[in-house]
């Protein structure tokens, strides 16, 4: 199964990019999109972080194993 990496862009004075080196295995693009949506919603619902006062200003940048960006998901889209 292909592995995808969910890097997170977040507003920060410098280097607001949390790189995902571990990734998740997903069977197809639909499953990937659903997984990224679920993850974003779950974070917005329950993850309280000092570094991220507002999840709505974050986005996921998803890459495949070759490093190509395959999906960009602003959290504001996941909140709809």
């Amino acid at each position: 199964m292909p592995r995808y990496f969910l890097h997170l862009r977040y507003p920060a004075p410098e280097d607001g990019f949390a790189r995902d080196d571990e990734g998740d295995e997903l069977p197809d693009p639909d499953a990937l999109r659903q997984h990224v949506m679920d993850t974003a919603r779950d974070l917005m619902r329950s993850a309280r972080l000092k570094a991220i006062p507002d999840w709505l200003r974050c986005s996921f940048e998803v890459t495949d194993e070759a490093g190509a960006v395959v999906l960009m998901l602003p959290f504001s889209d996941a909140a709809k």
């Binding site: 949390a18 571990e22 974070l43 972080l49 000092k50 570094a51």
Partner: protein, 237 residues
């Protein structure tokens, strides 16, 4: 195999027993490797052995949410199999090794018999039961009161207390499961700690660089249960 000598034991609970209490356990203690992911106690199953880790860290988890969420940890400061000390034969929680190590084990009936014959041994282990209860209560407090950064700092400190050296072998996915947070939440928090030069995170290994700062970042979520352990057991955890 020679029986263990109390002076050379790293497990704080065994090391802090009175010499005669230790002697009553000594013939029954068997050295065991504690491998990564090894299950020491299955939920809702009669406990066969009680474990005293020398190194490594075991995790007490609730597995009912599909994944595992950690509710307690045990390393060299304690024992795995507390229900036996309390006269109970099983627990709803799983106990497994999250950081490999080694330790001692004793068959549950042998420990029960030793406690029945030796009140001072039993009383010492009951004091540990209270110390463990305080740790679990502090986890509940941290989960309600603290943000992910502080909870992560506390959790790394608890791991650091129980490993030799400064390297803690852990993936982000694993930490996420243990803290009950999605992995990107942990990755961001680790990224922030790394930016402050408090830790270094490489694939699968977290290195503690500045423990003092980590304690500061854990705010009031770390320290109370460790101080209470020291007060109750007469030795640092």
């Amino acid at each position: 195999m020679h029986p263990p000598q109390q002076l050379s034991i790293a497990n704080r609970l065994l090391a802090s027993l009175r010499a005669e209490d230790f002697a009553s356990l000594q013939p029954y203690l068997e050295p065991v490797p504690l491998d990564m992911r090894q299950v020491l106690i299955e939920p809702n199953t009669a406990i066969g052995h009680v474990y005293f880790p020398e190194t490594g860290m075991s995790s007490v988890t609730n597995n009912s949410s599909g994944g595992k969420i950690e509710v307690g940890v045990v390393g060299r400061e304690g024992l795995v199999g507390l229900p036996i000390v309390l006269g109970i034969d099983r627990t709803p929680y799983e106990h497994f090794m999250q950081i490999a190590g080694h330790g001692w084990r004793i068959a549950a009936p042998d420990l029960e018999q030793a406690m029945a014959q030796n009140n001072s041994l039993h009383r010492h282990l009951l004091r540990y039961a209270q110390a463990s209860h305080v740790q679990v209560s502090e986890t509940a407090f941290a989960n309600a009161n603290s943000d992910v950064e502080a909870r992560l700092a506390r959790w790394l400190l608890m791991c650091h207390d129980r490993v030799e050296g400064d390297d803690i072998p852990l993936t982000h996915e694993f930490i996420a499961m243990m803290l009950g947070v999605r992995r990107p939440g942990v990755t961001v928090a680790l990224h922030v700690l790394e930016g402050m030069h408090v830790i270094r995170a490489k694939r699968g290994v977290i290195t503690v660089l500045d423990r003092e700062k980590l304690e500061e970042l854990a705010e009031d979520s770390y320290g109370l249960s460790e101080a209470e352990y020291t007060r109750l057991m007469g030795t640092e955890p």
